[in-house]
């Protein structure tokens, strides 16, 4: 005796959020049943394990059928097959495109290619995310990447419109796409302490300030790629470290402003030239794709680590960078104020975000 066929179809599609999450998390039907049993649903309405199994299978089937639609969420709203109230649709989409920070941290900046996909089982094992869920998340990244790659207009807005995601999630996807496109190195040991949210924040800064779209939002590809002209102009900043006078002048201005305001003043004064060289060199090298990739590792090595070893507090860091940026404006021989602001604005907020344990 065996149940050969067992289906339940509602005119309004019935979806249990808990089961949906289990499905998204890549649980097998049997594992999902176990989790649900432990969750105590059975006591709640006098159900048996059979009932739970049957319900779980039904739901899994429904989700599998919906999955095709979820790949292009706009279709979900005007498809006829499933009658799903709009608020449910939004939940379905949002959850489908949600991802594990642990997972995304592993693939951030990697090429969204078949090769990476092959490594997913390793990543899964490392992060404790099931392979199935890894695949879904990876495919989501790839799908979003492919769609927005060819679109004009602001990146976040494009993602939100095409995938009907919430603003927050759309921004995260923008970060993922941006990282994947520029192949930023995030996997080095020194960067391990940074969370996805740290990177996402930085990505947002870069997208908003360093891309073509940041100045002109009707240009193709504008949000995904860094503004080449700007990167060229960054070379001009070198004058701040190559011109001895300028460097000294800059240092004295900063030190004057900082004196007495922080305990770390001595270290700041001692390290000023090193730190300034570090930041300016990063700027000057960004025309090389290779160096773009190393942007974050450079920031950490050239700036964050020295500061940390000198035990700067976050407040110290803020103080220092503010004065460091502002003082450059007072330098009368320094003509690249606009580029400087555009550069330092991002650097400042990125470093603020990244300066933690």
């Amino acid at each position: 005796m065996a149940v050969e066929l067992d289906v339940f179809v509602g005119n309004t599609t019935i979806m249990d959020e808990e089961v949906y999450q289990l499905w998204l998390d890549g649980y097998t039907v049997n594992d999902a049943v176990k989790v649900r049993m432990e969750g105590g649903v059975m006591e709640e309405c006098e159900a048996s394990a059979d009932v739970l199994l049957s319900d779980t299978m039904d739901q899994y089937r429904t989700f599998q059928m919906c999955e095709r639609l979820l790949h292009s969420p706009a279709k979900l709203a005007n498809q006829l097959l499933f009658q799903i109230p709009p608020n449910r649709q939004a939940i379905l989409i949002e959850r489908y495109y949600a991802f594990d920070d642990a997972f995304v941290r592993e693939v951030l900046g990697k090429k969204l290619s078949k090769g990476t996909k092959k490594d997913l089982d390793d990543i899964g094992a490392k992060t404790g995310v099931t392979l199935k869920s890894c695949r879904r998340q990876f495919d989501n990244f790839k799908r979003v990447f492919k769609v927005v790659e060819e679109l004009k207009g602001p990146l976040v807005e494009n993602i939100r419109q095409h995938f009907l995601l919430s603003d927050k999630l759309a921004r995260d996807y923008a970060a993922i796409v941006f990282f994947a496109n520029n192949r930023f190195e995030t996997g080095k040991r020194k960067l391990q302490y940074l969370t996805f949210q740290d990177f996402a924040f930085c990505a947002g800064q870069l997208i908003n300030n360093w891309t073509v779209g940041a100045v002109d939002n009707m240009v193709e590809d504008m949000d995904v790629d860094l503004d080449k002209e700007f990167l060229q102009e960054l070379k001009e900043l070198k004058i701040l470290i190559t011109d001895k006078d300028l460097l000294d002048q800059h240092k004295s201005l900063v030190c004057t402003a900082l004196r007495g305001k922080t305990k770390a003043f001595n270290e700041m004064e001692a390290n000023f030239k090193n730190l300034s060289r570090g930041l300016i060199n990063i700027a000057a090298k960004l025309t090389n794709t290779k160096d773009v990739r190393d942007f974050f590792i450079d920031l950490v090595e050239k700036f964050i680590e020295p500061c940390r070893s000198d035990r700067w507090t976050a407040a110290d860091m803020k103080l220092y960078l503010t004065h460091y940026t502002n003082s450059a404006h007072i330098l009368d021989t320094f003509k690249h104020q606009v580029v400087w602001d555009r550069y330092m604005g991002v650097i400042k907020s990125c470093i603020f975000k990244m300066y933690h344990d």
């Binding site: 005796m1 065996a2 149940v3 050969e4 066929l5 067992d6 289906v7 339940f8 179809v9 509602g10 005119n11 309004t12 599609t13 019935i14 979806m15 959020e17 709640e44 309405c45 006098e46 159900a47 048996s48 059979d50 009932v51 739970l52 049957s54 319900d55 299978m57 039904d58 089937r61 429904t62 599998q64 059928m65 706009a74 279709k75 709203a77 005007n78 498809q79 006829l80 097959l81 499933f82 009658q83 109230p85 709009p86 608020n87 449910r88 649709q89 939004a90 939940i91 989409i93 949002e94 959850r95 939100r160 419109q161 009907l164 919430s166 927050k168 999630l169």
Partner: protein
Amino acid sequence: MPGKLKARIVAGRHLPVMDRASDLTDAFVEVKFGNTTFKTDVCPKSLNPQWNSEWFKFEVDDEDLQDEPLQVTVLDHDTYSANDAIGKVYIDIDPLLCSEAASVISGWFPIYDTIHGIRGEINVLVKVELFNDLNRFRQSSCGVKFFCTTSIPRCYRAAMVHGFVEELVVNEDPEYQWIDRIRTPRASNEARQRLISLMSGELQRKIGLKVLEMGGNAVVGYLQCFDLEGESGLVVRAIGTACTLDKLSSGSAPNTNTHMHPNTAPASNACNSPSKDGKEPVFGEDLLSSSGPPTPFRALPTSSSSPPPFSPSKPCSRQSSSSDTDLSLTPKTEKAQPVRRRPGIFLCPSSPTLSTDTLSLPGSGSVGCGHGSAPRATTPPPLSSIRSDSALLRKSVSFTEDLLLAASGMGSGGSAGKEAGPLKTLLRQQTQTALEQRGASSSGLLLNAREFPFFTLTSFPPGFLVHVGGVVSARSVKLLDRIHNPDEPETRDAWWEEIRQEIKSHAKALGCHAVVGYSESTSICEEVCILSASGTAAILNPRYMREGCLDMGITDHRFEEPSPPSCGFCHIPYDELNMPFPAQLTYCYHCRRQKVPDVLFTTIDLPPEAAVTGKGCLIQARLCRLKKKAQGEVNATAISNLLPFMEYELHTQLMNKLKLRSMNALFGLHIQISVGENMLLGLASATGVYLTALPAPGGIQIAGKTPGDLSNEQHILTIQKRINDTIAKNKELYQINPPKLFALDPEVFCGINMELTEEVVGSPIPDPRQRSRLFRSHSESSDEVSELDLSHGKKDAFVLEIDDTDAVEDIHSLLTDAPTPTGFYSCNTEVMPGIYNWTSGVQMFTSVRVLRLSNANLTNQGLNKIFTDLCENLLKSFYFKLRSMIPCCLCRLNFTVAVPEEELIQVAVTAVAMTFDKDQTQEKPAEKAITKGCSETEDQLQFPLELCADASSANNQPSSKISGVPETTNVSSRVSSLDRSSPLPEGRSRSLRSNRSFAGGSVTVVKMTPLSFLPGTRIIKYLGIINMFFIRETSSLREEGGVSGFLHSFIAEVFAMVRAHVAALGGNAVVSYSMKECVFMENPNKNQAQCLINVSGDAVICVRETDQEPIPSMTNIGQTCTSGTDGAT
């Protein structure tokens, strides 16, 4: 040239990729009606093509308009090879032919392919210009309205009820034609879909013609079924109730058409309609019946000389002429009677008892079963006493039948006629030449209605239903043969005619002149077919009837003293002194003026005005019977022999379960017997209630065979205690607290407190018989238990004897029905007796389960257990899945069982879960109010409802777990911007767009329900009947997720197509939805499966109840408006 059909193809979307190279599709559309085809241009390289075609115009007969669907085929243009079909849309244009229904069809339809399912959508506009046809010989019946709803549709009132209409058409099944061997599965499926669509159209047209003949303008309770007879063909048949309906103007009558209860529609108005109380001309059978006493069959042993008024079966003479099946069933015995078994049965409204002294046990019943129509009269296995009667009966019958035929002249069916056009020759029921029909039908049809005073309605305007006798049913086993035997074109008609005659005679025996809640069904396995019909014998108020429709002769006296509506229908219609079966009558516990039976079984819905104590619940009896595999007649005979036993056992089960719940009446009783190769399945479903007017049911008494055995007695005591506990628990659960005066709890009834019993029962009812019965029951419970015999046991139906393990099993199974979880109620009627305050949550669902029996050596008991568990588990699953809707009630739980192949049991269920307001479930409008005017009582049950407001309610709701998603509004606006592809400017789109749920959304929310109403809403327009037939086939079963995946998506697709058609008609809901057929076949080894689904319902526009003026008189009842909980998730 009475009609011009115009169609325009606007656009497509979400088309599948047909060209792998470009990942695009070059789509064009063929629009076909009849033999005319138009094509659109090819829209190259697009998955969202915009055709914006011209109007394609078809100039056609209105007859064709009724029969044919508009066929829209989407194809992929291919320069070098044949164009590939993407899929099709069949659009039934019938709703456009009725001025009151839809005026245009416009919307997105899913493009359906029988192999691939839904493949994108197409936007189509259809209009019809109809010219008046004054030709009185016309064959069309445009304008007749059809309703699946089995009550007078809201927003109409019944000016007159004309009576029964039926028709059937027959054809060869394309699946079994030789050509099927060479054509593709797709072509074959499409041929079948198209044919059935054609046949349905034709059937509807013909029924419409009959209605026009009768002077009606609508068919209510239209029930259309398919019999897939395999090799022998395809039958499409339909029955319904012809009515003359008047539309209520929506402004003037919000009160009459907004009831929560479906049944109270045009009550008071209808009374004023010109009604005729005059006597109708007396026809042949009346003459006969008046010559003898109106004798119920049970009385025949004593008065067998008087010919019964109705023949229970065809006379011998006629049988010989229709020999194709009947003869084949005749066993080679010396008996001259045909063995066509007619285990027709009254499910006696009281207990399944016979006051017989000679009782043959089911085991020994085989003797009686060899016989003619022996078990026809009553439930139990054939009795020797009846056996002799049947012979007599048969003789007398043949005589009657001849007379009757003579009287009916041209006959009732219009099933003559030989010549016709090539297409029409396919159809058995050829249209007679117009003149012939004109001449014959006016008398013939009237006679038909008169001949079969049947009503497919299950609920009625107040005052319509006077008395209810009980359930009448008839079954007949037939061997299928090819239909196209030119000499016997009317076999199927004749079969049904027989059954109907029998039903009629049963009703007559119950002293009733009409059958309400009437339905017919078949079960087919290979060449064997069980035809079943059942209904409720009743006496109706002739004021609503067309003259001559009912046979009033002997019942007039019953109208003299009007009974209170809350109990009147329970009063016995038959003669107390000459009862058709032994029932224990008492004076009505409500009005105490007239007699009522102790138990009442019916197939109708609970009349809204009925006084009920507590709540009702679903009661099911389930049964499996193994049978040997056999062929032909042997098989048919074996099945015939089993049927009466099954009916009897189902009935006993029902009765016991009813008592176990301390209830005394069943409504909506539906007994399905399904035949398979090696087993028969029986499933009886009904809703049990405690009718205040009927006496309290007794308890259940357990008796043992061997009193000496101590351990056994101990065992019996334990069981007895469990039963008593269960009864007590159920009383609490269903809130059955009858007025104390009448309370007869089991202990009292068993005589523990004799004095009280006597006093209590005796005081209102000074009936010596009652008292004696009580004494007897006392004696049963005492030391004489061991001497109980079966007759005793059956007589009171509450003594269960434990004499062997089977009996123990039975009792256990009785007790294993799991109670519904807290917060849930279930019933198979329209609404739950005892719940009156529905809120907005509505979730219609279909569930199908197929069980494979792996063990070949199963016993009947084992099978029973499996089958019972299957049904119980299904219910449990529903409760679990719908737990978010608590408190809620599953209404119209419709179980359909089948044995698709050996060792497979299939159960399909369609039902609706509806939320209600928990705090007010207790209240039932006070009885005074009911008697005063029940039509008003429901009006205050108006809830600010979100029929179409999932969205708005959703936005207000904090979305439960996900905090980051209060995004719905944004999402929606974006959706709307994406929907620009819709070529229809908002302004031009239909009225429904204005009240659709979600301003920005492109898909109309369409609610579906098997009920005739949606709680909290008002139906303002009926748009026409939805009757759709789909086939889906796959040869990649595994890839589609196995059988479950395959069927799951198919059912979802069917829902989607129904919704799309309703939305295109301008509607936003389907009421009286039902899945008539779900035939599933699989061949996992070949990775193949096929499924056929037939669904029907009424497309409607409904609006939220907003214009409520609280009814001041009813405020004391405490029913206030409650905001709907958004239970439907």
